[in-house]
Chain length 629, copies 2
Amino acid sequence: MKLPTANPPQVDYANDPYTWDNQVGWKQWRPLRPFRGMYYDVRRRLPFYWSDVVDGLNYRTFAGTVRIFFVNLLPALAFTLDMSRRTDNFFGINEALFSSALAAVVFSTLSCQPLTVVGITGLISLFNYTIYDIARDQGIIHLYGPLICWVSIWAAITHWAAAIFNLCDYMRYITDFSSTSFGLYVGIIYMIKGVEELVAAFDDHNRSGGYLACVIALVYWFTVYRLEMVGSTTFLKPWMRKSISDFAYPIATLWWVGFSHIPGRLAETHQYRVPHTRAFYPTQDRPWLIPFWTLPVKWVFVALPMGILLTLLFYYDHNVSSLTAQARKFPLTKPAGFHWDFFLLGCTCFIGGIVGIPLPNGLVPQAPVHTDACTEYQDVLKVTKEKDDEPDAEFHQHNRKKIEAIEVKEQRVSHWLMALALIGTMTGPLLDVLHTMPRSLFAGVFFVVGWGSVGSSPIIANALFTWRERKFIDPDEPRLRLKPSRIWLYIAFQLAGVLSSVAISQTIAAIGFPVIIISLIPLRWLVMPRVFTEEELLILDAPTADADVVLASMGGQPTLPEVRLAEEKRRRENADGEQGLSSGYLSGTTGSMRSREVFKDEEERKIEEEREKRRLSDGVQPTEWTGHD
Amino acid sequence: MKLPTANPPQVDYANDPYTWDNQVGWKQWRPLRPFRGMYYDVRRRLPFYWSDVVDGLNYRTFAGTVRIFFVNLLPALAFTLDMSRRTDNFFGINEALFSSALAAVVFSTLSCQPLTVVGITGLISLFNYTIYDIARDQGIIHLYGPLICWVSIWAAITHWAAAIFNLCDYMRYITDFSSTSFGLYVGIIYMIKGVEELVAAFDDHNRSGGYLACVIALVYWFTVYRLEMVGSTTFLKPWMRKSISDFAYPIATLWWVGFSHIPGRLAETHQYRVPHTRAFYPTQDRPWLIPFWTLPVKWVFVALPMGILLTLLFYYDHNVSSLTAQARKFPLTKPAGFHWDFFLLGCTCFIGGIVGIPLPNGLVPQAPVHTDACTEYQDVLKVTKEKDDEPDAEFHQHNRKKIEAIEVKEQRVSHWLMALALIGTMTGPLLDVLHTMPRSLFAGVFFVVGWGSVGSSPIIANALFTWRERKFIDPDEPRLRLKPSRIWLYIAFQLAGVLSSVAISQTIAAIGFPVIIISLIPLRWLVMPRVFTEEELLILDAPTADADVVLASMGGQPTLPEVRLAEEKRRRENADGEQGLSSGYLSGTTGSMRSREVFKDEEERKIEEEREKRRLSDGVQPTEWTGHD
C-alpha cells in the first residue's frame, strides 16, 4: 500500500509579508491593525493542513505518540495530586484529564503549531492553589469555583486581546537570559514538588510507606535517567537504543508500578496511590458548569488582576514552550503561528474556566520532547584525526558518533492520537489502571522532569565553567575570553530573578511570580547592555526565537540593543576619537576595554563571532531535556 | 626543620640473583632449596627500611592514612556485622578490630610490602560462617571455637610451608584471565552482602527502619561515588579535588550518620546500629585463648582440608592484592617480597586462630587504593590537535587533562598510623562512636566497594564492547581485530568460573570456592592456548604480575604458553609448509586463520603488539576502584 502524499507549498521565510519594518504613519502601530498577525498565521499554515495529516502516517509518529503521552500524562497527574491536596479536591484527576484531553483535541486539530504540546503545568497548579489560599484567607472558600472561573474568563479576554492586537510579536525580544532563568525556576519548583510529594507520603501511623516512597522515587528517577541516556551511546543497533530512550517512561513506570505491588513487605506498606474516581464526573459533588453568575460583582473585579497575571504567565510560558518546540536545532520547514495559537489558548481558558478544570498551556520542558520524539535522527560516523601537539607526534584516528537530525515529522497526528489516548484514560477501566500507581512514582516524575531542567541549565553550566581550571579548556571556547567575575555578574542577574521567583512561590504572593519573570525582559533590553559589552552579551546570550519558521510569525528578528549601542559608540569614536565616550558605565567596564584591545577589525570579529555561535549550536543533542550529567 | 633523608640502594631488577632459569640438576627444584625466596625477599628489602620511615613524613602519607583507615575499617565492620549475625556473635566487632589492628601492626612493621593492606575480607566472613553452618549440621556447635582454631593452625602450617618452599613463585603464572574473574566474583559477593544487610534491617514490627535503611544505603553509595569522581574532573584546584576524592568516605560517613540521627521521623525509626560491646573483651563470654587442645582428634583431622582450602584462598587473595597494590601503573621503585609476606601471613593465621578472631589477609579491592592514596599525581595539560578527516578540514586545539603518577610515597608510616588508629578504635570511647553508625550505612559500603569491582570489571567491559556498534570505535582499538564470538567465548570461560563460584558461595560447600578460582590458572595455561590463538590471548589477557619490582621476587616473567605454542607451530610451518599443522584445535579456529592472514611478518607484528599493550596500560587512572560508569 502506498501512503498518500502531500505537496505542501514552499515558504519564503526571509520575505514574509508579515513585517512591521518600513511601515509608516499609523501603520507602524501594532494595536491599530488588529488581527493582522492571526490572519498571516493562518494564511501561512493552512496550506499545510493536509500534509500535517499525511506526514503523520509512519512509525516515528507512533513512537512519538507513546513517548509524549507518558511525558504529558505523568507530570500532569503529579501536579494534580499536589493541586488536589491543596484545593481540597476541587481540582482532581478527572479535571486534569479533562483539561489535558480538551487541550490536546483543540490544539491538535486547530492550532498552527501542532508540535507544541499543551497541558497542565506545575505553574498553573501553583497559581490555582495560591488563589485557593487567598479565598480561604478572605473567607470566601465557598466561592472558589466562581472566583477561579472569573479569573479564567478575564484571562481568556486578555488572551484574545493580546492575540488580536499582535502582541505576541514581542516574543522576539525574549533572549536566553530570561528563558533559561525561567527554565531553571521551573526545574527548581519541580524538584521542590517532588520533595513535597514524598513528605506527603508519610503518615504518622505507618512510616514505612513514606520511606518506601523515597526508595521508589529514587529508583524510578534513576531508571528513567539511565534509560533515556541509552540513546546517546553506541550500544546495540540504532533503532534499539532509540526505542529504549523513546519508551523510557513506559518501561520504568510499568516496572516500578509492578514492583510496588509485590505481595509481602512491599504491598503491605499500604502506599498512597492515585485516588479512585467516578469516570467523567467532577471530583467534588458539583455539576460541570461553574455557576459563575453567582459571584458578587466585587469579587469579579478582584478576579481581573489575577486574570491579567495568569495571562502574563501564559504569554511567557506558552510562547516559550512553542519557541523551544520549534528551536533552530530542529530542521523544521513548516511555519509557526504564535498569534493564532495564543487566541486558541484564550478559548481553552474560557472553556476550562466555566467547567472548572485547571487551565492548560504549553508545557515548558515537555514541548521540545515532542518535537524530539518526532525527529528522525541518524547516528553518523564522524572521523577525526588527532595528534599530540608536538613536532613528531603521530596521528590517531578517532571514530565518533554524531547524532544528526535528518527530518522532523511535522504533523498533527501524534498530538491527535495523544488526545484520543487521554480521552481513553478518562474512562472507568483506565482510571482503575491509574489507581494502581503509587503516588511516590510521581515524586520520581517530578525529579526526572525537574532535574532535566536544572541539570542542563545553562546558568549552572556557566557557573561550573568558571570553576574549571582554565588551562584544561579548549582554546576556542568563547567564554574563555570573558573574565570569570563578568560571567558571575551575569549569573547574578539571572539568579536574582530565579531565586526571588522561587521564594515568592512559597508565599501567598505566589501568583505574582510571572511579573518577576517578565520583568527580566526589559531588564535585559534596558539595563544589561549598559552593564555588559556587546562581546560579553554575544557570548553569554542569544535570542530565544532563532528559527526562521518562528521569526516569520513575529515580524522578523530585532536588532539587539547592545549591538546598536556598540555601533553608535564606534560611530562616535570614529568621528571624535576617544572623546566620544559619553556613557560612564560603558567606558568603565573592563570587558569593554578588552573588547577594544582584542578586536581591531570590527568586520572580522563579527564574522568570527557568528561562526562561533553557529558552531556551538551545531552540536545537536536529541533534546536538552533527556538528562545530563 | 629539615626532614631526615635516606639514600636507599638502587636495585637492578633485571639481573636479580633470585632466579630459577639456567639452574641444573637438583638446583632447579624449588622445594629442594627452602627459604631461598624468603632470604632474597629480605635481602632485597631490608636496606630500604629506614627510607620506608623517612619517606612517610609528608602530607600525602597523612591523607593516605585517613583514606585507607576508612576504606579498611568500614568494609571490615560491614563484613563483621554479617559474620556476627551468622555465627551467633562468635566473631563480633571487637574480634574484627583486634584482627585488623594485629594485621596492621605486623605488616606495617615486619612485611616486605608495607603498601599491601591486610585486613578482614568478605571471603573470610563467608568461610567462617560456612564452617559454622557445618559445625551446626554436625552437632558440634559447642566445638566451633576449637575447630576454627585448628583450621587456622593448619592454615598457618601450610602457609609457612608454601613460603619456605618458594611456592609463591607460581603467582607469576596468574594472568588477568583469572584475576579479573576473581575481582568480579568478589564484587558480586559484596553486592549480595549489601542486599542481605538491607534485608536484615527489616523487622516485622517496624518496617520503616528497613525502608529507611534502603534510602540511606542508596544515598550513601551515591555520595561516595560522586565525591570520588570529583578527582577526575577539572573543577576547582588540583589539591581541592584530590582532597575531596581522598576523603570521600569520611565526608559521606559523617554526613549520613548525622542524618540518621535527626530527631523525629528519622531517629524514631530505631534503625539497627553497630552493637555496643565491652572494650578489649571477646564478644562472647569467653577468654581470648581458644582451648584448642579440647578438640577431639577426629575433628582436628577434619580441620586439615579446611585449613588447606583457607591457604588456597589466601594464597590467591593475598598475593593478588599485593600484585594489584604494586601494579605497573604505579611508578614503584622499592622491591616486593611475596615469600616473606606469605610467611608473615601464616604467623597472623596462627595468632588469629588461637585467640579466635577472623583471619586477616590482603584486601583485594582496597590494597590498590592504599597505593593510589600514597601516589603523588599531577594533572598535566595534554594539548592535541584535531581535525575532521576531510581534505579541507581545519585543526582545532583540544586541551585535556592527563593525570600523571609522579611518584609513590613508598613507606610504612601510613600503614603503621592506621594500625594505631585501629587500636584507638578498640577503646571504649571510640566504640561508642561506632555505635552511632546505622547498619544501613554498611550496606552502602558494600555497594560502593562491590560496584567498584563490578562496574570496572574488564569482563563486563569486554561484553559491552561487543555490543557497541563497531563503526564508532577507534580503529586502533586492538579488540576490533577479534570476532565478537571469540570475545564471547573468552568471556564464557570467565563467567563459568565466576558464576559457579557465586553459586557455590550460597551453599554449604562455600568453603570450596577457592578451588574453582585457583583452577582457572591451569585452565588458562593448559586449555586456553589450544582454544584461542596467540593474538587473541595477547589482546584479551596479560600477566597480572607485570611490574619489575614484583617479578624479581618471583624469579622473573615466564613465557606464556600460547607464545610458545605459536612459535613451535611457526617453526614447524617453516620446516614442512602447511602440513605441519598437527593440532586440530589450533588449525580449526577462525582466529588462527585470521592471524595468519593479517600478519605476514612475525617480527613486525610482535613489536606492534607490544607497543599497543603499553599504550593501553599507559593511561594511568588513579585507581580502578574509584568507580566507573
